[in-house]
C-alpha cells in the first residue's frame, strides 16, 4: 500500500469520528441540561426577552432536535462555539487567544515525558530487577498514583518557594513585557524578535509545569516501554542478533527498540489525553494562562458554553494526535506497507 493510499484511508476514517464527537457534544449541550437557555446565558440576561429570543433563534431552539443539531454544526463550522458567561466574549476567541500558551506547555511536557518515560522503561527492561529498575518503577508508580495537582503543588513549593531554583507562577516575570505576538508562544515569539532575555525567562517559567506534566505521562510510557521491550528481548531474532556478534547497544537500540516501538508510540498518543487533562489541573496551580486555566475557571464558575467549547477542542486535538499516531504506524510497521 502506498503512503498516499494509507493516508487517505485513515483520514476518511477520522471524519465520522469527528462528526460523532459533535453529536455527543450537541447531546451534552442541548439535551442533558434541564434548560439550555439557563445553562448558556448569564443570570442577568435571563430577564431580557430579546436576548433569550435571539439565543433561541441563533441555535434554532424552537425547531426539532435534528434541525437544532444542524444549526449547531453550522455555527460550529463557522467557528462559533457560543459566548462565555464569565468573560462575555465568544468562546472561540477566548480559546484561540489562550491556545498558544497551552501548546507551548504541552509540547515541552510531551518531549520531557517521552524522553523520561522511554529511558526509564528502557533502563528497567535492560537491567531488569536491578536497583535502577526498582527506582524507575517506583517513580512510575508515584506518577500513576499521585494526583497531578499534588505533584504540581509540591514541585512549586520545593523548587520555587523553598529552594528558589525554579521560576514562579505565570508565563513571564511580572516586570517583563510579553514579546510581540506572532505565534502567541512566548518562547518562539521572543526568538523571532531576537530577544534572548525574554526567551530565557519564558522558558524558565515553562520548565516546572512541563516537568510536572512529564512525570504524569511518563509513568504510563515507561510501563509500556518496559513490558513491550521485555517481550521483544525474549524473541529469537534478538538471540540471533547477539549470535552474529552485534554490539549490545545495536541489539537493544536497533533490533529491540525498533520492534517495541508500536505499543510505545500508541501509548504516547493515548497519553496526550492525559496531557490535556493535566493542563487543566496544573495550569491553575502555576497560574499559567492557557486553555487549562480557562477550563478550570469555567468549571468553578459553571461557565457552560466555555466548558463545552474546551471539551470539544480537546476531543478534536486528541483525535488529531491519534490520527498522527496512525500515520506513524506506516513507517513503524512494515506489514502495512506490504499488505
Amino acid at each position: 500500500m502506498s503512503f498516499f493510499h494509507y493516508f487517505v484511508r485513515r483520514a476518511l476514517l477520522v471524519i465520522p469520528i469527528l462528526l460523532g464527537i459533535t453529536v455527543v457534544a450537541f447531546i451534552i449541550a442541548n439535551a442533558i441540561p434541564a434548560d439550555p437557555i439557563n445553562a448558556n446565558l448569564p443570570p442577568n440576561a435571563l430577564n431580557d426577552k430579546d436576548t433569550i429570543a435571539a439565543f433561541r433563534k441563533k441555535w434554532g431552539l424552537d425547531k426539532p432536535l435534528h434541525e437544532q443539531y444542524l444549526t449547531y454544526l453550522g455555527n460550529l463550522l463557522q467557528g462559533d462555539m457560543g459566548t462565555s458567561i464569565k468573560t462575555r466574549k465568544p468562546v472561540a476567541e477566548d480559546i484561540s487567544s489562550r491556545l498558544p500558551a497551552t501548546i507551548e506547555l504541552a509540547t515541552l511536557g510531551l518531549i520531557y515525558g517521552t524522553v523520561l518515560g522511554v529511558s526509564m522503561g528502557l533502563i528497567s527492561a535492560v537491567w531488569k530487577n536491578s536497583l535502577a529498575d526498582y527506582a524507575a518503577r517506583v517513580i512510575a508508580l508515584i506518577g500513576i498514583s499521585f494526583p497531578v495537582f499534588l505533584i504540581a503543588l509540591i514541585f512549586l513549593n520545593v523548587f520555587y518557594a523553598q529552594l528558589g531554583i525554579a521560576a514562579g507562577p505565570g508565563r513571564l516575570h511580572p516586570i517583563m513585557r510579553s514579546p510581540p505576538t506572532v505565534t502567541g508562544m512566548f518562547t518562539i515569539d521572543a526568538l523571532l524578535n531576537g530577544d534572548w532575555k525574554t526567551f530565557g525567562n519564558a522558558l524558565s517559567h515553562l520548565i516546572l509545569p512541563a516537568l510536572t506534566l512529564a512525570l504524569y505521562i511518563s509513568a504510563i510510557i515507561s510501563r509500556i516501554t518496559r513490558s513491550s521491550l521485555l517481550e521483544v528481548l525474549n524473541q529469537d531474532y534478538m538471540r540471533t542478533a547477539r549470535a552474529k556478534g552485534l554490539h549490545e547497544r545495536t541489539v537493544i537500540g536497533f533490533h529491540g527498540m525498533r520492534n517495541s516501538m508500536i505499543p510505545i508510540v500508541t501509548v504516547i498518543g493515548l497519553s496526550y489525553g492525559n496531557l490535556l487533562v493535566g493542563s487543566i489541573l496544573i495550569e491553575r496551580i502555576f497560574a499559567y494562562p492557557g486553555i487549562g486555566f480557562y477550563m478550570f475557571r469555567a468549571s468553578t464558575s459553571q461557565d457552560f458554553p466555555a466548558i463545552m467549547g474546551v471539551s470539544l477542542l480537546f476531543a478534536f486535538i486528541y483525535v488529531g494526535v491519534n490520527f498522527v499516531v496512525d500515520i506513524l504506524y506506516f513507517f513503524l510497521d512494515p506489514r502495512i506497507r506490504i499488505a
Binding site: G20, I32, P147, F149, A161, F296, Y318
Partner: protein, 295 residues
C-alpha cells in the same frame, strides 16, 4: 478401577491447590500487594469509624484558631475557618471510597451489558454498539465526564454518574470479544436446543464464563476512578466547597499556598489510597500474567 477413579478425582483438586499455591507464592514474593491490602483495609476501617475516631466534626469552625500549623491540638493543622484538617481528611474517606467504587461498579456493569449484548446479538446491533464504543473512546474520558457533570449540574452524585457514563467502553470491548468466544461453545448450543430463551442463555450461560477478566480490569481501574473523581472535584465539578472531600480541600488549599498542610494532607490521602489500590492491581496482574513477572 478404584485407582483410576482416585487418580481422576485427585487431579482437579491438586491442580487447583497448586494454582492457589502458585498465587500465594507470588503474593508472598510481592510484599507490595500485602502492603496495599493493609492500607486499603485501614482506609475502609477509617471510613467506617470516622465519626468515632475523628477528634472534631468535619464542619466545626473555630475562627480563633484558623490557619494553624500542625500541632498537638490540630494534628494536621487547621484551615481558613479553623476546621481541623485531620478530622476532615478522615471524614473525606467516606466520600471518596464509595464514589470510586460506585464509578467502577456502575461503569463496568454498563460496559459488561453493552459488550455482552453486542457480542451475543451480532449483526447491526453489534455494529452500532461497537461504533458507539469507538466514539466514546475517541474522547479523553475525563474531559467527557467534565462536560457531562457541567451539564447535569455539579455535585457528588452527578460527578459519579458522569464518570460511570464514560467509564464503560473498555469493558464493552473486552466483554464483546469474550462473549463471541464463548458463544460458539457446545454448552451454549445445548442450552439453545433445550429451549432456553435468549436472555437466559446470555445472562445465565454465557456471562458467568466471561466475567473474570472484567473483574480484574475493574480492580486495576479503582485507582484511576478515585483520581478522576478527585480531579473533577478539584476543578469544582464535585461536592460543594465546604465538603471535606479531598480533591476539593486541595483546590481550596491552593489559595493558602504557604499553609502547606491545607493541601498536602488531603493530597497525600488521595495518593496513599490510590497507590494502595495500584499495588493490589499490579500484584494481581503480575500473578495472572506470567510474562510480566519479575523473575
Amino acid at each position: 478401577m478404584s485407582s483410576i477413579s482416585s487418580i481422576s478425582s485427585s487431579i482437579p483438586v491438586s491442580a487447583s491447590r497448586s494454582r492457589r499455591q502458585v498465587a500465594l507464592y507470588h503474593l508472598r514474593r510481592n510484599p507490595l500487594v500485602t502492603l496495599g491490602l493493609i492500607a486499603v483495609a485501614l482506609w475502609i476501617l477509617i471510613a467506617f469509624s470516622a465519626p468515632l475516631i475523628a477528634p472534631f466534626p468535619p464542619l466545626e469552625q473555630d475562627l480563633a484558631k484558623r490557619l494553624q500549623a500542625p500541632n498537638a491540638y490540630f494534628f494536621a493543622g487547621s484551615d481558613e475557618l479553623g476546621r481541623d484538617i485531620f478530622s476532615r481528611v478522615l471524614w473525606g474517606s467516606r466520600i471518596t471510597i464509595p464514589a470510586g467504587l460506585a464509578v467502577i461498579i456502575m461503569g463496568s456493569s454498563l460496559g459488561i451489558l453493552i459488550g455482552a449484548v453486542a457480542g451475543y446479538a451480532g449483526g447491526l446491533v453489534d455494529e452500532f454498539l461497537m461504533r458507539l464504543t469507538e466514539l466514546f473512546m475517541a474522547f479523553p474520558f475525563i474531559i467527557l465526564a467534565m462536560a457531562v457533570t457541567a451539564a447535569l449540574g455539579p455535585d457528588i452524585r452527578n460527578a459519579v454518574l458522569a464518570l460511570s457514563a464514560v467509564w464503560w467502553p473498555r469493558y464493552a470491548r473486552i466483554l464483546r470479544g469474550l462473549v463471541l468466544e464463548v458463544k460458539s461453545q457446545e454448552y451454549v448450543e445445548a442450552a439453545h436446543s433445550a429451549g432456553a430463551s435468549g436472555s437466559y442463555i446470555l445472562f445465565r450461560t454465557i456471562l458467568p464464563n466471561c466475567i473474570a477478566p472484567a473483574v480484574i480490569l475493574a480492580t486495576l481501574d479503582i485507582g484511576t476512578a478515585i483520581l478522576s473523581f478527585a480531579a473533577l472535584s478539584f476543578i469544582g465539578l464535585g461536592p460543594e466547597p465546604s465538603s471535606p472531600e479531598w480533591g476539593r480541600m486541595v483546590s481550596i488549599g491552593i489559595h493558602f499556598f504557604d499553609q502547606w498542610w491545607m493541601w498536602l494532607f488531603p493530597g497525600l490521602a488521595i495518593a496513599s489510597l490510590v497507590m494502595a489500590f495500584n499495588f493490589i492491581g499490579d500484584g494481581l496482574r503480575d500473578i495472572l500474567d506470567p510474562r510480566l513477572r519479575g523473575e
